[in-house]
Every structure is written in C-alpha cells, then in structure tokens.
Amino acid sequence: MAIDTSAPSPTVSPTLRVGRRLRDDRRYALIFLGPSVLGLALFTLFPTVMALVMSLFNWPVFGNRTFVGLGNYARLLGDPIFRQVVLNTCLFVVLYVPLNVVVSLGLAAWVSPKIKGRSVFRILFFIPVMAPIVANAMVWRLMYQPGGLLDSVSQSVFGVATPSFLASSATAMLAIVVMSVWQGFGYNFLVFSTAMDQVPQEQLEAAAIDGANGIQRFRYVTLPMITPSIFFATTLTLITSFQVFAQPFLLTTGGPGNATQTLVLFVYNEGWRFLHMGLAAAAGWVLFVIIMGITAIQFLGQKRWVHYD
C-alpha cells in the first residue's frame, strides 16, 4: 500500500495555511448562512420595517395613503377600546403564563420518577399541542356552551345549570385561559420533563441520604438545576401568550363586547376585516415594543435566578 509521506510544500508556510483555512471557513459559513440571513431579511426584517413605515400613514387597502406621523399611535392611545384590548392581553398573560408553568412543571415532576406508564402520560399530555387548535377550540366551545358537557354534568350531578361561560364578560377570559392552558402546557411539560431527566441521580440520592424529603429534593436540587429550561420556557410562553389570537378568535371573536379582544385579534380586525392597514401596523408595533421590553427585562433578570452550571 502506497502511503503518501511527502512533506507539505515548502512554499506554503503554516501561518498561510491557517489563514487560507479561515478564509475558506468564512466562505463556507457565508454560503451556509446566506439563505437563512436572506430569509430573515426578506420575511422578518423587511416586514417589521415596512410595518413601522405603514404605521405612520393612513393606509387604507384601497385609495390614497396619507402621512399622519404618530397620528395612528395617538388615536390608539386615546381609544378606550384599544386600552381595554391591551389590558385584556395583559390579563391573559398574567393568568396564562403562571398557570401554564405551574401545571407543566407539576406534571413533569409527577412523571419524573420512573412511574408506570410514564411514556403514555408524556404522549397523552402532548396530544393537545399536536391537535389542530381549531378542532380543540370547537370542542371546548361545545363543552362551555349552555346545554354543553359542563352544563349537562353540572345539572345531572348538582342540579344546577352552569353560567354561559363564553357569553358573560366575567367568565369569558377565564374560559379562554383554561382552554389555552390545556392546549399549551404539553410543550413546556416536555421541556421540563426532559430537563428533569438530566438532573444527576447521585445528587438526588446524596440529598436523600442527607435526609431531604421529596419536596426538599425538588426545591433545592431539581429546581435550581432546571432553571435554564424554566427560563427558556417562560420566555417563549410569555412571548407567545402576548400573541394569543386563535383561542379568542375561535371561541368568542373577541366578545362579549370587547371582553376578550386581544392585541393580535385587534390587529387582525383592523387590518384584514376593516382594511385599516396603518392603524393595524401601529397596533402591531405597540405589541412588538411590549414584547421586546418584557423579554429584555427577563434577559436582564435571569442573572439572578438562572444557573447554567
């Protein structure tokens, strides 16, 4: 077998070779990154900037566009309905995010030990995430409505009719939050469950030998070790919950009155139903700024409670 033992060409110094490799690497990196950078620029950066430009115009779908400066923003801030829309969205976030994290963390902790049928539970809890949200919402609508599942069960067991959950301003948002938690906790559950599986057994055993009970082991060993996952999950859940749309759109269309209209639903209505693109873009930017601000605060705050070692 012929083995090539020839030395590298004496004309190419090692420094030059490293430099060429770096240049090659950069070229390859550019080739590989190109499509995604282009995609990002085309489908994310351009629409974001375009929305900012549109938000400064009275931009009907048909007819003349006129520059109004911050007029759309002023109109939104002066509109009692829009203020309620922002409050509705915040109410949804404040109710949904903690509930989602508590439920998913609780269930992940519950299936964390090697209990029987663990994989079955994992699949069961993840099914709502995979099922189309339209079908989920319609099934929940059938459960909530007068004469629906909840009402019938309540009447036959307690002899009392339930209120019409989606028809009353007092209960509609709660009903949407409950449905959303059911629909959405499976994803965080999987994240937490996987993170808990990574917690070294010996540390848990050491804590147990030191006399820590189950709750203490969870609080002082498991929880600190899964904080990166909790940070990841809460950040993403917070962002997506500010963008909630499908559930109120399908369950209540924002009603009764304005009780469940959220920011994205408002953007959708103004832009697509009522064809006021400028106003919709301005509302979209208000949402963008809120999400950016809160995510920035989360990233700044993570140093205090997220442990990466």
Partner: protein
C-alpha cells in the same frame, strides 16, 4: 406513533365536520347543498345573454364557497358563460363565507386580483371603489336593467353606478315551524300579519321548554326588527351611520325588549356574530324555537328539517309592513386586465339560463323575476309565493354606509351584550357608533 396518527386523524375528521357545519352562511348566500345542479348549457336565445363572441380571456371567479358540492354548483354557472363564449375560460376559486370577507379586500387591491368577484349588497360599500362601474358596458352589451328585480339592482349600486349584477335577492322574512303552530292551535301567519299577532303567536308557542322565536346579534336580524318597529334605517339623510338617532335607538330598544320578553331561548345562543347565527339556526332546525328571520336563500337548506316549513312576512309594526331586501351579485375588479370579457361572462352568469339552473335546484331566489317560477317549484314551501311577493312589494333596499363592515363587526359583539343584558341598548349603540368610525 400509531396513537399520534390516529389522534390526528380523528382531529382531522372533527375539523372537516366543523368546516362542513360552517358552510351555512347568512344574508344572501346560497348554501352548500344540492350537488346535482343543472347541466351546463348555453343561454337560450330568448335570454338576455349576447350571441357567442370571439372574445378570449382566462378569468378567475372568486366566491364564497362552502365545499366541493358548492364549488360544482358554481362551476355549472360559469359553464354557461364558457358555453356562450368559447374563448373565455373561468376558474372558480373560493373561501367559506366568513373567510371570504376577510380576504376579498386585500385580494381586490392586489395586482393578481380575481376578475369576477362575488359581492353582497350589505357589504358592497366597503369594496365598491375597487369594482368597475358597469353602466357603459350594460349599454354596450344591451343588458336590460328592467329584466332584474329593481330593489336588488339598486342595492348593488354605488354612487348611482351599477358595480355588480345580481344573481339572487330576497326580502328578509320569517321562517316558521308549521307543526309547532298546529300543535299549539295557533293560526298560521298570513301576509301582512301584525305585531300583536306575532306576539300572541310567539307567546302561545313558548311552552314546555320550547320557544316561539329566536334571534342572534348579526345585522340582518336587528336591522329587520328596527325597520319593523320604528321604521329607522342605519343611514341618516347624509348617508352616514346613524345608530344613535332617536328613531334607531327607539326601534332597537323595542327589539331588545321584545326578544327578552320570554319568547326566545335565554342566553341568545351563547355566542355573538356568525357563531350566534349558527346557534340560532340550529335552535330553529332542532325545534327549540318555532320562528326566526332569514332570507329566501335559506329556504332549501331549511327544508331538510324534520317538520313542515312555512314562510311568513315580517309582522306589520306601527308603520305598516316593511322588509329589507338583500342579495348578491357579481362584480369586476378594477385590477382585471380584461374587464369586457369579465362583463360578458357575468352577463351569461346572470342570464335566464344560469339563474334558472340555480333556481331549479333551489339554490338562489333568482334576481330575474321571469325565472322565479323555477324557484317556487323547487322550493315547494307553504306560503312562499304569497310571502315573497307581498314582502317584495313592501321592501326597501338595505343600504349601508362604507364603514358598515366595521360597524357590523362591532355590532355583532356589543349587540350580543345588549341581548344578554350586560349592556343597555343605548350603550351598545353608542359604542358601535363610536367604534364604527375609528379608522375612518
């Protein structure tokens, strides 16, 4: 994995079912029902369609379409146009009713806009600026306006110009359950019956957990009643939204009070807007309620119920009998590169032949009175002819302001609160009046 696939399959079936349910659509929309629509054929010589021409174009027809059966029925209508004009090819595209109206605005503004679009009289004003005025084309191709029902022809005008040609129309009337009337010993309504007759009948029919009437928060319901009770319309003399005019407030308060007088199921269907409309429809069809207001386009799908169906006029209020007329037609997008070809296609699609085909399978009450008989024969419903003829004679076109799409959208939700008692009628109207003009 098998479990996953199965669950998704089940979910898929659920979604397909829901989409099928969602095919029902209010106000001027034919229902997905009878697939055996008439076979395509060229317009007959006595019909008003022009002689075959050499025009050549590839057109898209965008319409509200509930499913495959619905699409096939509309393809038989476009087939009439293609038979009249061998050079014209028409592709039918569509979305279900609620989605149609969230997409058509941006579609009309896009350079790739469909040439022929479905347009409903109540929603016309919001899109009329994007439609080609047809008056010159009508003169050029000798389309006789008097061949069409005048109320719906006027309902599809914008600024005095015809922007769509109608295929169907209908006064909003009351559908009733004849079996329930018989069982309760209540005389069936006659054309021109009065508000007191209606109240007495609805009260007598409200018994044993069943109700005399049902309603929902969509526009065709409250507008019909307000017109009936106080004579008020949504426009003021200047053509602007006038929901807070004393007459409208008075009519709306009477309507809410009437609906909450015990004659309708409590909770107003538990939902606002289109979902509430579907709830109202199912309350009528499952016999929970004995009467409701809708257009003749719902006659055929209502005939599928397990009881004898009747049709009655709106009861005559203080100002006598008044009925709104709504309906739909076809318009041409201003983005269309071949508007003349599109117009010729529309002429064929609204010809006697096409409308007779639609009427004979009961799909649309024809906008051409000459072929109305085909619809009556197909519908075969007690009181249909007397009711529709009487209502038509006492009808006014339902004219709406350009911002009606917004106002009606808000009205869906706030009107629902007024019906459930969460808001006073005055507060609901004031909010809708304010919000309806937010973006304008």
């Amino acid at each position: 994995m098998r479990r996953f696939r199965r669950s998704r399959g089940v979910a898929g079936i659920v979604v397909a079912g829901l989409i099928a349910i969602a095919c029902g659509s209010p106000a001027g929309t034919p229902q997905a029902s009878n697939p055996q629509a008439s076979a395509p054929q060229a317009s007959t010589p006595q019909a008003s369609a022009p002689a075959p021409s050499e025009v050549s174009a590839d057109l898209t027809f965008q319409f509200w379409i509930g499913g495959d059966a619905d699409k096939k029925a509309w393809e038989t209508v476009t087939a009439v146009a293609m038979a009249d004009h061998p050079g014209i090819k028409i592709t039918v595209k569509g979305n279900p009713w609620p989605t149609y109206w969230t997409r058509i605005g941006t579609q009309l503004a896009s350079p790739t806009s469909p040439c022929i679009v479905g347009m409903q009289s109540l929603r016309l004003e919001a899109y009329a600026d994007q439609l080609v005025p047809m008056d010159d084309l009508m003169a050029k191709y000798k389309v006789n306006p008097s061949d069409f029902d005048q109320s719906i022809l006027n309902g599809l005008k914008h600024g005095g110009k015809q922007v769509a040609l109608p295929y169907d129309f209908g006064p909003l009337i009351i559908f009733y359950n004849r079996d329930r009337f018989k069982a309760a010993g209540v005389a069936e309504p006659k054309p021109g019956w009065t508000l007191d007759d209606f109240k007495a009948a609805a009260t007598a029919l409200t018994t044993g957990g069943k109700f005399g009437f049902t309603t929902s928060s969509i526009d065709q319901e409250y507008l019909s009643w307000v017109l009936d009770l106080s004579g008020a319309e949504v426009l003021d003399a200047g053509g602007k939204l006038a929901l807070t005019s004393p007459a409208f407030v008075d009519g709306y308060k009477q309507y809410v009070a009437l609906m909450n007088s015990g004659i309708t199921p409590p909770g107003s269907g538990g939902a606002a807007g289109y979902t509430g409309y579907l709830a109202m429809l199912s309350q009528f069809q499952d016999q929970t309620a004995a009467m409701y207001v809708d257009g003749p386009w719902m006659a055929i799908s209502n005939k599928a119920v397990k009881f004898q169906l009747g049709m009655a006029t709106m009861p005559a209020g203080a100002g006598g009998s008044k009925h709104y007329t709504a309906g739909s037609g076809f318009g041409i997008s201003k983005q269309c590169a071949t508007p003349e070809a599109a117009f010729q296609a529309i002429v064929s699609m609204t010809s006697d032949t096409a409308l007779k085909g639609l009427a004979s399978v009961g799909r649309a009450y024809p906008a051409r009175p000459a072929v109305a008989d085909a619809w009556y024969t197909a519908a075969d419903i007690q009181g249909a002819r007397e009711t529709l003829e009487y209502a038509d004679a006492h009808s006014v076109p339902l004219l709406t302001p350009p911002n009606w799409v917004e106002a009606a959208g808000y009205f869906d939700n706030y009107g629902f609160q007024a019906l459930t008692g969460e808001l006073t009628p005055e507060a609901a109207l004031q909010t809708v009046q304010d919000q309806g003009s937010l973006g304008n």
